[in-house]
Amino acid sequence: MEKKTIDVSDGAAIPRKKDAGLFSAWRISFAGALIILLCLVVFEPDPYLKILKFLPDGILITFEVTIFAIIFAVLLGLLTGLGRISKNPFINAVASTYVEVVRGIPLLVQLFYIYYALGRFVRLPDMVAAIIAMSLCYGAYMGEVFRAGIESIDKGQMEAARSLGFNRTQTMFYVILPQAWRTILPPVGNEFIALLKDTSLVSILAVADMLRRGREFASETFTYFETYTVIALVYLLITLLLSKMVSILEEKLNYYDQS
């Protein structure tokens, strides 16, 4: 059966098999970014090398927030997705309301809210607040992806498994989810990439991520052009690497689809 999907996302383009040519967009962007960055650092170490040396702890924080937020967002997304298709009206209402509320509030506002507004009542450390806000936000987005993925599996699968004696939970975890995962992965991969880029917003909580480190450097040395050029190139390289990883994973999972 030919499956038609719309490959548009705000994450990043995940390279497909067919764009594997020498001049694919992924290769041009990656090689371009890498060459420009290397040239700048080698031919103009002052300030470019200084900037690059200023960033590593910030890059680490960016990764830390991204990885923890991805883990929690996937768990939360799975629960939400299951909750959204649940027959229990209470669970369904909770999951649906969560999605509606969180998707209706900008992430930047959520960050401010959790850190500064709730800060008067619960004193969360900045990293914890950042990870909670990112997970809550992306959990809601991923919940929708999971729901759509689960619903895309033919009803007959559920009926067959149930008539073989599986209960609903067993059917979900042994029959439906393993199949749905293949449909879910591309959009979830996009969410990962979008999440990584959105971690730049946590710099407003004074979390010393890559963007804040860059801003600190620029505001002290007035090298705005140079600093933000490096920041943009490093983000681009990381995002492109992540999208490549997602596409490799996707290919592995699609192994059985190839005929």
């Binding site: 004074a206 804040r212 801003r215 600190e216 505001s219 002290e220 007035f222």
Partner: protein, 244 residues
């Protein structure tokens, strides 16, 4: 009829402004009370705002204020988005390389604000603790220079004070007028915060910054500052905004 009225009003406004008066756009980061901040009517007010108005009156130019985030305020000056920055800018050697300054107009020192129940008397005593300041300010540079302290940079000094207030950080360093505003004037903050020390980083002077090489605007501003200082207007403004 309506249209005619509008034209008449417009013409009146145009005629009322002397054609030769030059308009300078001055950038301020209105998050630094009492020097420059927003009132409830969303207007920028403060010592610097009044000071620039006085300078403008003396030197004979019109002034329009623009609220710009501190983080990019010097980038905007360099890009020519406004003519000057008068926003509690301390004159430093690094900044002098990147822009030109008018005659120094205000003296400040760096103050350390801590929680009221803290016994800390110097910045050095906060070793191993976290101290916050506004990104790209001399206060933040002072924290960074002190060994063993985790420096945390905020977009606005108010956010750093809020974090100190809720106990997430152990101190905030900023210019003394602003420190006094938070630790003494604002009722809820004053109940929990105090000024622990004035740092021995020495006196700092505020200057009005213009784009490097913009002599025309710089001369105009300096002419105004000289007149303001000669007439003692700066002392009146100090009494109005700072007290003592």
């Amino acid at each position: 009829m309506m249209k005619r009225c509008v034209w008449v009003v417009l013409a009146a406004i145009l005629l009322a402004t002397p054609a030769w008066a030059r308009t300078l756009v001055v950038a301020q980061d209105a998050t630094w009370p009492p020097m420059e901040f927003m009132n409830e009517q969303k207007e920028i007010i403060g010592f610097d705002t009044d000071y620039v108005r006085a300078v403008a009156k003396e030197a004979g130019f019109d002034v329009v204020f623009k609220n710009v985030a501190w983080d990019g305020i010097f980038a905007g000056l360099d890009a020519g988005q406004y003519d000057a920055v008068c926003s509690s800018v301390t004159i430093t050697d690094e900044r002098k390389k990147a822009m030109d300054f008018g005659i120094p107009y205000f003296k400040v020192r760096q103050a350390l604000v801590v929680s009221k129940d803290s016994t800390v008397k110097t910045l050095e005593e906060l070793k191993g603790k976290t101290v916050g300041g506004q990104i790209g300010t001399t206060g933040y540079f002072a924290i960074k220079k002190t060994e063993g302290i985790t420096a945390k940079s905020y977009d606005e000094i108010g956010l750093a004070m809020e974090d100190l207030f809720s106990g997430r950080i152990d101190g905030v360093v900023c210019d003394d007028p602003t420190a006094a505003q938070y630790a003494l004037q604002k009722a809820d903050y004053a109940a929990r915060l105090k000024i622990a020390a004035v740092l021995d980083t020495g006196d700092e002077y505020y200057g009005i910054a213009v784009k490097k090489g913009n002599k025309e605007v710089l001369d105009l501003i300096n002419k105004g500052i000289e007149a303001v200082q000669a007439k003692g207007i700066d002392k009146e403004l100090r009494a109005k905004w700072i007290g003592q």
